[in-house]
């Protein structure tokens, strides 16, 4: 498939439809087509399928729907492998999994996806979505820098502002080689903060193309996920982009898990 696509798995629950407004805006920004995938227990006629997906005609107008039979996560992975989508946009969990941080299917998709996965909180519902502010948490390590390139490209194409938050606090500095340093001293804040933020952005620009995107750097302190969440709310963030090493078992990915659980906006997960 040569045309860029964004894969949107819908499981037939009302919650799953929350992914659609997000996917549509992302598709507009990326000039991509939406590829709707439903994995069910049996083939359904078109009209019955639309009823089953709980989507009115305007929402799915003009879109073809790929219906497959089998295990949802495995089928999603197989389709993703075949169509090589720019991203998979899906709801965090279904209605029957309410209260879970991440549904079973979403968890497996996250593990197996060959592309970034955008996880949408079902509480958003079907209300329209826009992209004005993209938030990228950065702890100074090269690992978290993996999220920066995709976030910057998306922000530039979507004419959104890129917010980079560096969370610091009590604890040792990152030991990963190539990590950025946080300001251990602040002699005169009126000079120190602009200088540090400017250098931070320049260092970021050396590892990914920031293009003409507007970048603002924030320094936060405290528990990482809570601070990211706080800033996200304060700055009315539309999307949080996070890098993930691919390990999910405790105590790994604690920040990612907490943000996935608490964030009110969609989260794009990029493999580091």
């Amino acid at each position: 498939m040569s045309e860029p696509v964004i894969l949107v798995p819908l499981d037939g629950t009302k919650q799953a439809l929350a992914a659609l407004p997000v996917a549509k805006v992302l598709a507009d920004i990326e000039r991509a087509a939406l590829y709707i995938l439903h994995v069910g227990e049996r083939q359904l006629p078109a009209e019955e399928l639309r009823n089953h997906l709980r989507a009115g005609a305007p929402v799915l107008d003009g879109l073809s729907i790929d219906v497959r039979i089998g295990a949802p996560a495995a089928e999603i992975a197989q389709v993703a492998s075949a169509i090589n989508p720019l991203a998979i946009v899906m709801c965090k969990h279904s209605g029957t999994e309410r209260g879970k941080m991440l549904g079973r299917t979403a968890t497996k998709v996250l593990h197996d996806a060959p592309c970034p996965v955008v996880l949408v909180p079902p509480e958003r519902g079907a209300i329209p979505w826009h992209l004005h502010h993209v938030l990228v948490p950065h702890d100074g390590t090269p690992t978290t820098s993996a999220a920066l390139g995709p976030a910057a490209e998306l922000a530039e194409r979507g004419r959104a502002e890129l917010l980079v938050v560096h969370v610091t606090g009590v604890g040792a500095a990152p030991t990963e080689p190539g990590s950025f340093t946080t300001p251990r001293y602040v002699d005169q804040p009126q000079h120190e903060w602009p200088a540090w933020a400017g250098e931070f952005v320049k260092r970021l620009a050396s590892i990914c193309q920031l293009g003409h995107v507007q970048v603002r750097v924030f320094l936060a302190h405290g528990e990482t996920a809570a601070e990211i969440q706080r800033l996200s709310e304060k700055q009315s963030t539309d999307l949080i982009v996070l890098a993930w090493r691919g390990r999910w078992e405790a105590p790994r990915a604690a920040t990612l898990k907490n943000i996935v659980r608490d964030a009110r906006c969609p989260i794009m997960v990029v493999r580091a």
């Binding site: 606090g169 009590v170 251990r184 804040p189 009126q190 000079h191 903060w193 924030f218 936060a220």
Partner: protein, 602 residues
């Protein structure tokens, strides 16, 4: 660093397996401060090839600063091939130029940039052009003179440490950058917080220069020290204007000073969380006036430069003393108080009776009276002229002494502790050990309001007072205060660790001093600030030098003569340095078996 030359050398292999050797030299001349030099030697090792030199200048060659000074640059290039030597076409300056290179032969491109300002000459553009053209024709001499100038500086200023290579490297790094930033030939400029190595702090001059850097110059490069102090003299009018604007007499120096001496401290600061806060340092860090006076007195005491004292230094000492007499107010307890200030510990704003501010003000008042007395006795006629020039009333020096005598110091005779400011001891005592390790300053971690309600301090405050006024403070008071304030210091300023190293060493706690010394050395060399591109921390580097000289070596000038009480770390086999005292060079050598100070000809 020894020659003041940046060398870069590497071999480049391209996709076609062509190997090219490149060697680059870059310098800013110490012998001729108008010249900047860049040379590139290119040798294609295994293939003849065509290269394109892309060395176009970016930015204008002539600029006018905000204060109306014209800054002009001129460029002259030269190319040397195995067969000829020529001035390249204008394309090398304006864009790309092609050069055909033969394998195994070396080609050299030289570039000289000359810089003049309208302060140097009426036609800076033409002067720069002539100077660049002449220099590029005799580049070897330009480079030789630069190297000789650096070697001469190192002979005077080097400080040798045996047994600790890291400490030696840190010290030479500090000396190199301090020397690079000073210019004894121009007494209308000073050294900004980041020296000349970066654009952060916009070149603004703080107390860093007078308190942290100046001692290095006073003892090893007095001509540079004099120029730095003359900058303060030339900006005295602006300091008087600032004091008058705020309703005071005398001179209140700018917290952030630039070419005119007007206070250029920003009024607002945007915190990293986007919060905008009003900045009070410009109004309240009034200790700057005493800091400037301290530099003046320090220089005069070490050099005996009476001419400077008569022409400029006395004006500064007297005008700053006058500031304190108008600033301090006598209250119901019959003591003078200075309310609403910020001390070196900038975590606490609008405080009353900051111990450092009051202690330094008291010193400033006393020293002004002492100098007035000395000048009237030794130089009666010049003193009459100074008195007339400054409008000194006959009883004024007596008033300075009266204010100094009754100025509240915050010293509790019972405990021997200075209270850093009124009410400090009532604030929340937070154990800093609970925040170790951390990657951010304490005010970022706790927030502005909580830090203001705590005893956590940003940097040496009372400890700084102990350092500067060592001989005026009894030994038990020094130790009691260091023991109290050191654990409460969050070292949120890069200026702090070096001073703690110095005072710890003088108190004989060499192990603690060494830890702080390493911490200070890492600020630039390990980039613990995360902002190396903004430039080096010139004040920290001056503090590092002081920690070694006044701390570990224990050099002191009690009774107006040099003496020392060494506290060398056990790993340091020896320390040796030269310093000037009253026009005479002295050699200080601290070998394992004992110490020696010998005087040499200047």
């Amino acid at each position: 660093m020894r020659q003041g030359i940046l060398w870069r050398e590497w071999r480049h292999q391209d996709e076609a397996d062509r190997i090219t050797q490149l060697r680059m030299l870059r310098l800013v001349s110490l012998a001729d401060r108008h010249l900047l030099v860049q040379c590139v030697a290119i040798t294609p090792e295994n293939s003849s090839t065509r290269i394109f030199v892309d060395a176009a200048l970016t930015g204008p060659l002539v600029q006018i600063t905000g204060s109306g000074t014209t800054v002009a640059m001129a460029v002259a290039d030269h190319v040397t091939t195995p067969t000829e030597s020529f001035t390249p076409s204008i394309e090398l300056i304006q864009g790309r130029q092609a050069l055909d290179l033969k394998a195994g032969e070396t080609y050299r491109l030289d570039r000289v940039v000359a810089l003049y300002t309208s302060r140097d000459t009426v036609d800076p553009r033409e002067t720069a052009r002539t100077h660049a053209d002449r220099a590029v024709e005799d580049l070897a001499t330009v480079i030789d003179k630069h190297r000789d100038a650096w070697l001469a500086r190192w002979r005077a200023c080097d400080l040798r440490i045996e047994g600790d290579a890291a400490a030696q490297r840190a010290l030479r790094f500090a000396i190199y950058h301090l020397l690079s930033a000073a210019n004894p030939q121009d007494d209308h400029v000073s050294i900004g917080a980041r020296g000349l190595s970066g654009s952060a702090y916009k070149g603004h001059v703080f107390w860093d220069t007078d308190i942290f850097m100046l001692p290095f110059f006073i003892l090893t490069y007095p001509e540079a020290a004099r120029a730095l102090l003359m900058y303060r003299y030339h900006t005295l009018a602006a300091a008087r204007a600032k004091a008058a604007r705020l309703g005071y007499r005398g001179a209140f120096y700018a917290w952030e000073s630039a070419d005119s001496g007007e206070d250029v401290t920003p009024v607002f600061v945007v915190a990293p969380d986007g919060q905008v806060t009003r900045l009070l340092t410009g109004e309240q860090e009034q200790h700057i006036s005493a800091d400037v006076a301290f530099g003046v007195w320090n220089y005069w005491r070490a050099t005996g430069d009476d001419r400077f004292l008569l022409d400029a230094g006395a004006d500064i000492l007297i005008e700053t003393a006058r500031f304190w007499t108008s600033r301090a107010e006598r209250e119901n307890d019959d003591r003078y108080h200075i309310r609403g200030v910020i001390g070196p510990d900038e975590y606490h704003e609008s405080v009353d009776d900051n111990a450092y501010t009051n202690g330094m003000a008291q010193w400033n008042l006393e020293i002004a009276a002492e100098i007035a007395n000395l000048l009237s006795e030794r130089f009666p006629e010049p003193w009459r002229m100074i008195s007339r020039r400054l409008g000194i009333e006959p009883g004024e020096p007596r008033l300075w002494l009266d204010v100094a005598h009754d100025l509240y110091t915050g010293l509790d005779e019972r405990t021997g502790l200075f209270e850093q400011f009124h009410g400090y001891f009532d604030l929340e005592d937070i154990d800093l050990a609970a925040f170790v390790p951390r990657t951010a300053p304490m005010d970022v971690l706790l927030g502005r309001e909580r830090i203001q309600q705590s005893q956590i301090i940003k940097q040496a405050d009372v400890v700084m007072l102990i350092h500067l006024l060592w001989d005026r403070i009894p030994p038990d008071v020094r130790k009691a205060n260091f023991d109290y304030y050191e654990p409460r210091c969050g070292h949120g300023s890069s200026l702090s660790p070096a001073i703690h190293a110095l005072v710890a060493a003088r108190l004989g706690d060499t192990a603690r001093a060494q830890r702080y010394f390493r911490q200070a050395a890492e600020i630039d060399l390990a980039d613990t600030m995360g902002n190396a591109a903004g430039g080096i921390h010139a004040g920290t580097l001056g503090g590092l030098w002081q920690a070694v000289v006044f701390g570990f070596a224990g050099l002191n000038f009690c009774e107006n003569r040099p003496e020392h009480h060494a506290n060398l770390p056990s790993s340091w086999r020896s320390l040796s340095m030269r310093f000037q005292w009253r026009g005479q060079w002295h050699e200080l050598t601290l070998p394992e078996g004992g110490a020696r100070v010998s005087a040499n000809e200047a």
